[in-house]
Every structure is written in structure tokens, then in C-alpha cells.
Assembly symmetry: C2
Homo-oligomer: 267 residues x 2
């Protein structure tokens, strides 16, 4: 399972129809769960190196329609990380203070510092997704945001922020099943929001908006990954695999003892 299985090549046009949301890479659930356990262990180690060296930050961006598994990915994959080195930011309807700024202001504040893992549950991409579909700003405003996002992410990448963007791809039928589960299961009632049905009614418009974001904002410094997410166990494995590759590629090593500490005697 190589990273480029999920990676959107910069400059290519994404058609979500050509990506199977039920793909499992030929693995069984049992195989995937075993591999996930191993990868979680390696993610723990790699994160400690990231934290100890403080040369890079890791920024994980999760996007996808309601029920696509953004929360689940955090719970089952990112929980491998030591919470001391993680900041999760959930971007919701902007507050009045956030509204009074440009759309990247609140996002910039939440970027993780070196040594840390930042996880964005939704992100700057909402400003070319819901904002576009619901026509919250005129077309000429959201049109120029793709380029603004690319410039912003390039700035981060140049400052040592490793950016991993995941689009969690589920089918409309799988979303239906998951919404029905929320209506049925007592411990999931709290997750059901009637307003999610309004977004579901605009499924095609949202898919088109995702396709544009994936096509126009997959760059060498911050590529998108399309994660088949109908099977939760494969979604988790696929994300863990991309994260491990990104972190391992940094080739980090344990920092040496500070010179002043050499030869110290502790009484």
C-alpha cells in the first residue's frame, strides 16, 4: 500500500466517480486491524521524535461530508499520539469575532508550532465548500480563495509545517446507513443533527465543490489524499499509513545531550 495510492497528483483533475469509496486495498478487516495496531505504535515513536526535536510541525486536515468519519479518525488513529503533543481544532460556524476577519485568520492562529501535531476537523476548505454551495459569499469571493489557500499552505510548508490533507470519501448510501444508526442507537442520538439532512439534499453540489478543492489545491507542498471511507477499518489504516510515511520521511534523530550537561555529577 504505497502513499500514492491515495495522493492526488498536483495538476490533475479529480473525478470522485472514479474513486471507489468501498475500496479496501484487497485487505480483510482482520488484517487491517492488525496492521493498524503496528502503525499506531510507530506513530507514537515518530511523534515523540517530532516533539523532542522541535524542527517540524505536523498539520493534519480532515475534510468530508457529515458522517464521513472525521471524528472517528481522530478517535481511532490520532489517539495513538501523546495528548501533550496534539492540538485538535474543530472549525464551526465562524464567531462574530472570526467573521470580522479574513477567512484565514482563525485558521492561522490554530497552526501547530514546531514539535506539535495539529489536527483540523474541518478547515479553511469550508470556505470553498459550504460557503460556496450555500452561496454565503458571491462567486468572485470564493473563486479567489483557492489561490489564497495555496499561498497560505506554501508559507506554512516553508516554515517547517508538514501538511497532510485527507478527504474522507463515502458513498451517499453509506451516509444514509450512518444517519439511520444515529437515529437508532441511544449512545449516538447526540450526534444526530437534523440540519445534516439539508446538506445531504445537496449531495451533488457538495461533491462538485469537493472535486474543485481537491483538484485546485493539491500541491507538491500540500497534496490531498482521497481516502476510501465506507469501511471504517480501511479508512483508519489508510490514514495511519500516510501519516507514518510523512513522519518517517523526516528522518529525525534524538537530540544529543546539551554540552553543559556532559560530565555533570548529580548528588
Amino acid at each position: 500500500m504505497a502513499e500514492n495510492r491515495f495522493r492526488v497528483e498536483p495538476g490533475t483533475r479529480v473525478s470522485l466517480d472514479r474513486h471507489d469509496p468501498a475500496d479496501t486495498g484487497g485487505l480483510t478487516k482482520k488484517q487491517a486491524l492488525e496492521e493498524l495496531d503496528e502503525r499506531r505504535e510507530r506513530l507514537k515513536e515518530l511523534q515523540e521524535l517530532l516533539y523532542a526535536t522541535r524542527r517540524y510541525a505536523l498539520l493534519v486536515i480532515l475534510q468530508g461530508t457529515d458522517t464521513s468519519g472525521k471524528d472517528g479518525a481522530i478517535k481511532h488513529v490520532m489517539s495513538a499520539f501523546n495528548p501533550q503533543g496534539v492540538q485538535v481544532t474543530s472549525f464551526k460556524t465562524p464567531t462574530p469575532e472570526e467573521q470580522a476577519h479574513d477567512f484565514l485568520w482563525r485558521v492561522h492562529r490554530a497552526v501547530p508550532p514546531k514539535g506539535m501535531v495539529g489536527i483540523f476537523n474541518r478547515s479553511q476548505y469550508e470556505d470553498v465548500l459550504i460557503v460556496r454551495v450555500e452561496e454565503l459569499v458571491p462567486r468572485k469571493v470564493w473563486e479567489r480563495r483557492y489561490e489564497a489557500i495555496n499561498h497560505f499552505e506554501e508559507l506554512l510548508a516553508q516554515s517547517g509545517v508538514v501538511i497532510c490533507k485527507f478527504f474522507l470519501h463515502i458513498s451517499k448510501e453509506e451516509q444514509r446507513e450512518r444517519l439511520l444508526d444515529r437515529l437508532k442507537e441511544r449512545d449516538s442520538h447526540w450526534k444526530f443533527r437534523p440540519e445534516d439532512l439539508a446538506a445531504r439534499a445537496k449531495w451533488e453540489e457538495y461533491q462538485a465543490a469537493y472535486e474543485d478543492a481537491l483538484s485546485r489545491c493539491s500541491t507538491d507542498h500540500a497534496p490531498w489524499h482521497i481516502i476510501p471511507a465506507d469501511k471504517k477499518w480501511y479508512r483508519n489504516l489508510a490514514i495511519s499509513q500516510v501519516l507514518e510515511e510523512k513522519l518517517a520521511a523526516l528522518n529525525l534523530e534524538w537530540p544529543p545531550l546539551q554540552p553543559e550537561a556532559k560530565g555533570l555529577i548529580i548528588t
Copy 2:
């Protein structure tokens, strides 16, 4: 192992000499690790209820000398929580902006909102610990801080913040071992800070300052717990046990389906 094994009764005078840092509650390491696994599972469930209901926040305060295991407790106990519901704040030397405010300003900003778990790695108590021992402010300034802290914590408790304060109690000899380990182990070099030895040289002054903080700021709304921390496995178990009791005592239940969601048909 009842919670009051560790709890500092409000109004009593703490003498750390009378608390054995190597206490293990009569358990073996194997027993403690097994029990910790079970408690971590229950903490996961209780946190999800806290998150779903959004009626309370949990604030965990970790204090203790260098190497006492504050980071380790976060890594091994608090990692049970879903990272989406956790905010860790490490209080370090105040920045110029923080210095320009009262000592509780930066702490107040970091208090978790309802539904969330906030973990303070060090806290407002540094302002009656290092600040007192190193004489960074006059005695009359730090003297009135105990009462200010009690009032502040009372305000939080009245607003639904459940406060769990842990003092991680290790012996001077155990600290020596741990510092030596940091000098020896390649993957721990980064944790060694020569300046920690300066604090070690003032061990007695720090113990006296801890005793005052524990005695004067253990209240019904925010009691202190003294955790025997020479054995890391017992430290982790003891903390998990107190956290579980605190969360279980809230008797939270899954929120019902919103009325508008009843009878909805999803197509």
C-alpha cells in the same frame, strides 16, 4: 483503593514526610497494569459522555518536582481520552504578554469549556512554588495568592468545572535515579535540562512550599491529591482511579434525540 486514600482533607496540615512516595497500595506491578487497562477503558466511555452532554468540564492539574512524572501521567493515563476532547496546557516561564497581566490571566484563558477535559502541566501553583522559592516577587505578594487561587477555583467549580489536583510525590533519591537515566539514555537526552539541578539543590525549600500549597488550597470544591509516584505504574493507576471516581460521580446519561429528529425519514 478509595479516593480518600490520596485526598488531602480540607483544613488539615500536610506533612510530606508522613506520605510514603514508594507506596504501592499493596499491589504488584502486574496487578496494577491490568487494573490500569480496565480503568482506561472506562475513562474513554466516561469522557465520551462528558463530551456528549456538555454540562461539565474536567480540569486536571498536575504538579510535582522535575522528573516526578507529570509528562508520563499524561502519556500513560490521559492518552485514554479521545484527543478531540482534550486540551493540554504546559505553563512555562511567563511570556512578556503574560507578565503584563495578573498571575491568573493566562490560566483563566486555558480553562476547558463544558464537554472538554483540560490538563494543566504545571499551573497557577507555580506562582506560589518557584516564584516563592526563587523570591521572584515579595512575600506579601505570594502570600495573598493562596486565597486568590481558592476564590478562582471556586468560581470555576460553580460553573461546572470539576477540578482534580494531583501532587506527584517522589523521593529525592528517586529523582536522582531519573536524572541519571536522562544523562545515560540516548532517547532521553532531550529531557535533561541542566537548570533542573538548581531546583534540586533547593529540595527542602520546595517541599515546604508544596506543603503550604497542599494545606492551604485543598478545598471541598477543589481538593488536592497526594499521589505516591516513585513507582510509575502505581502513580498511573492512582491517578486513573481518582479521575474515574470523579467522572462516574457525575452520573451522566446519553442525551436524547432532539425533538425535531423524531420520525424523520432519510432518503
